[in-house]
Symmetry: C2
Subunit: 466 residues, 2 copies
C-alpha cells in the first residue's frame, strides 16, 4: 500500500500527493502498469477531499506519469529510468561566479560613459504612457523587421535635419546596437570581402568582422583622418570610418578628404563606405559637421548612428541607413529576422523626438558637456603645464592627450587601478604597437565625471604619471 | 567680388554666408588658394556684424572648406571636384515603398498576437521611474554582456519557482529575442553541427540554422511529440524541441518521452537539447508542466524562454540558460558582444517580477485566455459540429483543429484574406507537404481576439470553408 505521508503544514495537499506519487514512480516503487488506488479510496485513506486527489491525479495525467482507462482506473506509465553519466553533476565553478562591482571611491574619465543626471525621466514616462495607448495594436503583434514605419519616419526627418542624411524611412533599419546592425550588414556580403578599418579604431568592430571571417586591413590615419595613401594602396571593399569625430583620436575629417574618399568609392561598384557617426550630436564652438552621407550622390555610404551617447548605451537603439541595392538584399537575406529594439521604447523615443524634447535635451547636454570639457582641459593644463599636449578637437565626448613620461602603458594601467581612476590609453585601440618611449597617449572622456570631481581626477592622473 | 545675396527672411545670416561661400567653393567659383575677403571687409560689404561673419568662417574652417594663415587671412582649401558615375542618381523605387497597414474590419486568430488591454501600464511606469533612480550608475555605462547581474538573479529565482529550472544567474544570457540568442549559441558550435528540428515546427529557427550553414534534419512527431525513432535514426548534435507545448501542434511531451530524450542525449558528450519554452506560462485545468531542464541532471539542456507571450513580443526580452561548458565557451567567443536588451526595461521588469506584479498579471491573463479559449472551442463546435476535430490541449495561446473539407490550403489562405480573417494553416509549418485532400489543419490563436468577436470570427471561418 502506498504511504503518502501528508503533512498539513507542508503546503497544498494535492501537491504533496502529486509529489509523493511522482517519487514512487520515478524510483520504480510503482512500476509500469501498476494500478493506482481509485480517487475515492485514496481520499478516504488520506482523509482528504475527493477533489484534492482529483487535482493530483489530473496533474500526473497531464505530465504523463499515469494514464487512465475508462471504468478501470489509473495506471502507471512505462517510464524508463534515468541514465547516468559516470561523472558527478558539475558543481558551479567558483571562477565563473560574478560579484557586483564595488566602485566606491573610483573616479571615471572613461570615454564609454555618459551623464544621465539631467535626463527628463518624468517627461519620458509621460511620453511612454501616451505611446503605449497610441500604439496599442502594434504592440500586440510581431513588429516590422526594420522597426515600425512611423518611428523610421521620425528618425529620417531627424537625420535630415541634424546630420543632412538623405534617405527614405524605408532605408532605415532600427536595431539594438550598431554592433548587431553591422553584423546583419556584413552578412549581405561574401566572406572574402576585405574590410578597411581605421588604426587606431574601435576594437569591437574589428572583432565582429574577424569573427565573420572577413579579411581585415588597417588604414592608418594622417592629420585629415583615414589616409588616402593607405586607402588607395589597400582598396578595401568596405571602408569603415568615423569622419565626424574619429574614434579615438578625435580628428574631424575635412571636406577635401571626404570628397577624395567618396571619389575613391566610385571607382568600383563593389566599394562601400560605412560611416559610423557614433557621437556627432555633440559639437562645441561651431555647428555640427554634416555627415559624409550628406555629400554622397551615388549611394556608396552606409550611415550608422545611435542613441547610446545622446540618451544612454543601455537603451540599445541604433539605426543604419542602407543604399537601395543593399536594402533589397537585406530584405531578402534577412526576411526572417525580427527587429531587436524594444518597440515601446521606440514609440516613446519617436514621440520624444517629435515633441522637441529630444533636441532640447541634446542641446542642454551639449552645453553641460562643453563646460566639463573646458574645465577638464583647464585642469590638465594647470597641473601638467608643458608636460601635456591636448588634442582639443571641439567635438564628441572625449579627446586624446599626449603626456611626456617614460612610464609604460602597462605600468600606467596598473597605477590607474591603484589610484581608482578609470580611463583608457591609446595603446588598446592601436594595432601597431610601436610608440615612442618618452610619451603616453591617453583618452579622456569628460561626459560622466561630475564637474566638482574634475580637479581630483586630474590630481590622481598626475600621481600616476609623476 | 563675391555676391552673397543675403535675405533677412531666409534664416540665420551666418548660415546664409556659410552656405553661399560653400557653394562657391564646391562649384569651383572660388578656387584652391583663393583668398577670401577679411571678416571686416565682408561684414561691411553685407552690412552684418563682424560676429556673424566670424561664425560663418569658423564653420567653414571646422568643416575644412577654408584654412587660415595668421596675419594673412583666409584661403580656400584644395578640394577635388566630385566624380560622377554615368548613371543618374537612383530614385527610390516605388516597389520598396511601405504604407501603413489598414487593418480596419479584420479579425485575428493569429497565434502570434497577444492581448495587451489589461497590461498595468501605470504600475509598469512607476516601477520604471524607481528602476531609473535605483540603477542610475549602471545606466550611464556599458552593460554586462549577459545583462545586469541583479536582473539575472531575479530571472533565476523566477525560473526555479515557475519552471523548475535549476541554474545560477551566471548561466543566464539576456537578449533581445530568442532568435538572436540562438544565433549567438549556434556560433559556439562548428558549422558541421547537425540540427534536429521538429516537423512541423517554427520556421524562423529553421532559417536561422540554415543561414548559419548547419545541416538540418527533420524530426517527425508522434503522439508524444518528437519521435524517438526519428531521433535515434538521425542522432543530431543538437535537438531543438518545444516539450511544454509543441509548436504548432500543441502536444505536451509526457515524462516518459522526456526521460527517453534525456537518456538519448547522454549517449554522446556532444549532444545537446535546446528546449524552447516559448509559451509555457499559460496552462489551463492543471498546473504548469515543469520544464525539461528541471529533469536534466547532466547539463545537456539549453533552456530558452521569453517575455514575448506573457508581456509583449515587441518588448524583446528573452533568456537562455547555458550549461557550464557552453557558458565558458560563450564568454570566450562572444567576449566583445554587447547585451541587446534595453537595460532600463530590464531593471523595470526585474522590479515588476520581484514585487509580484508579474505573476499576478500572468495569472490574470491565464484566466482571461482560458475564457477566450473555451469560448472559441465552444463556438467552433457549435458551428462546425462533426466537421471539425479540435486538438484542445489545455496549454499555451493556440490550438490546432482539423476541418473536413476539400478546399486546398492555397484557396483557404486566399479566401481568408477576402473574409478579413487572419490565421495560419499547418502547411506553412510543415516540411513534408503530403496531406490528405479531404481535411485541412489550421492553427487557432485565441489570445488576441476580443471575446465579443469570437462568434463573428468563427462565422467567417465557416464562410471560408463552406
Amino acid at each position: 500500500m502506498i504511504q503518502l505521508n501528508i503533512k498539513s503544514q507542508a503546503g497544498f495537499i494535492y501537491k504533496q500527493i502529486y509529489q509523493a506519487l511522482k517519487n514512487y514512480i520515478l524510483t520504480n516503487k510503482l512500476k509500469a502498469g501498476d494500478k493506482l488506488p481509485s480517487k475515492r479510496e485514496l481520499a478516504e485513506q488520506e482523509q482528504v477531499s475527493l477533489n484534492t486527489v482529483s487535482n493530483a491525479y489530473d496533474q500526473l495525467l497531464a505530465e504523463g506519469y499515469i494514464y487512465s482507462i475508462e471504468r478501470l482506473g489509473y495506471f502507471v506509465e512505462d517510464i524508463a529510468p534515468f541514465k547516468n553519466r559516470n561523472e558527478e553533476r558539475n558543481h558551479f565553478p567558483e571562477g565563473l561566479r560574478e560579484t557586483d562591482l564595488d566602485l566606491t571611491g573610483w573616479l571615471s574619465l572613461s570615454h564609454n560613459k555618459i551623464d544621465l543626471t539631467d535626463f527628463p525621466i518624468k517627461d519620458w514616462l509621460k511620453h511612454q504612457q501616451i505611446a503605449f495607448k497610441e500604439n496599442h495594436l502594434a504592440l500586440q503583434t510581431i513588429p516590422h523587421m526594420q522597426g515600425p514605419l512611423t518611428v523610421r519616419k521620425t528618425i529620417a526627418r531627424m537625420l535630415l535635419f541634424n546630420r543632412g542624411v538623405k534617405c527614405e524611412p524605408e532605408q532605415i533599419i532600427l536595431g539594438a546596437g550598431t554592433q548587431g546592425l553591422l553584423k546583419q550588414l556584413i552578412e549581405l556580403f561574401p566572406k572574402e570581402t576585405v574590410i578597411g578599418l581605421e588604426n587606431p579604431g574601435y576594437p569591437r568592430f574589428h572583432q565582429l568582422f574577424k569573427d565573420n571571417g572577413n579579411k581585415i586591413e588597417w588604414i592608418d590615419l594622417d592629420k585629415k583622418g583615414a589616409s588616402m595613401t593607405a586607402i588607395n594602396q589597400i582598396n578595401p571593399n568596405i571602408l569603415v570610418i568615423t569622419p565626424s569625430h574619429q574614434f579615438p583620436t578625435g580628428v574631424i575629417m575635412p571636406v577635401s578628404r571626404r570628397i577624395d574618399i567618396l571619389n575613391w568609392a566610385l571607382q568600383d561598384e563593389k566599394r562601400y563606405i560605412i560611416e559610423d557617426d557614433y557621437d556627432s550630436e555633440f559639437k562645441y564652438e561651431t555647428d555640427n559637421i554634416p555627415s559624409l552621407q550628406s555629400l554622397d550622390k551615388h549611394e556608396t555610404v552606409i550611415y550608422n548612428g545611435t542613441f547610446s551617447k545622446t540618451l544612454f548605451a543601455g537603451m540599445r537603439v541604433s539605426y543604419m541607413v542602407l543604399p537601395i541595392e543593399l536594402l533589397k538584399k537585406y530584405q531578402t537575406v534577412h526576411r526572417n529576422l525580427m527587429c531587436t529594439s524594444n518597440m515601446l521604447e521606440l514609440f516613446t523615443l519617436s514621440r520624444f523626438i517629435e515633441q522637441g524634447d529630444y533636441m532640447s535635451y541634446v542641446r542642454k547636454m551639449n552645453y553641460k558637456y562643453d563646460l566639463k570639457r573646458k574645465k577638464l582641459i583647464q585642469a590638465l593644463e594647470n597641473k601638467f603645464q608643458n608636460q601635456i599636449r591636448i588634442h582639443s578637437i571641439p567635438a564628441g565626448l572625449h579627446f586624446i592627450a599626449e603626456i611626456k613620461t617614460e612610464i609604460t602603458y602597462e605600468a600606467f594601467t596598473e597605477k590607474a587601478i591603484q589610484q581608482k581612476l578609470e580611463l583608457s590609453t591609446l595603446s588598446y585601440f592601436k594595432q601597431t604597437k610601436t610608440h615612442s618611449s618618452d610619451r603616453l597617449t591617453i583618452i579622456l572622456g569628460f561626459a560622466y565625471i561630475a564637474q566638482e570631481d574634475i580637479e581630483e581626477a586630474v590630481a590622481r592622473l598626475y600621481q600616476i604619471i609623476n
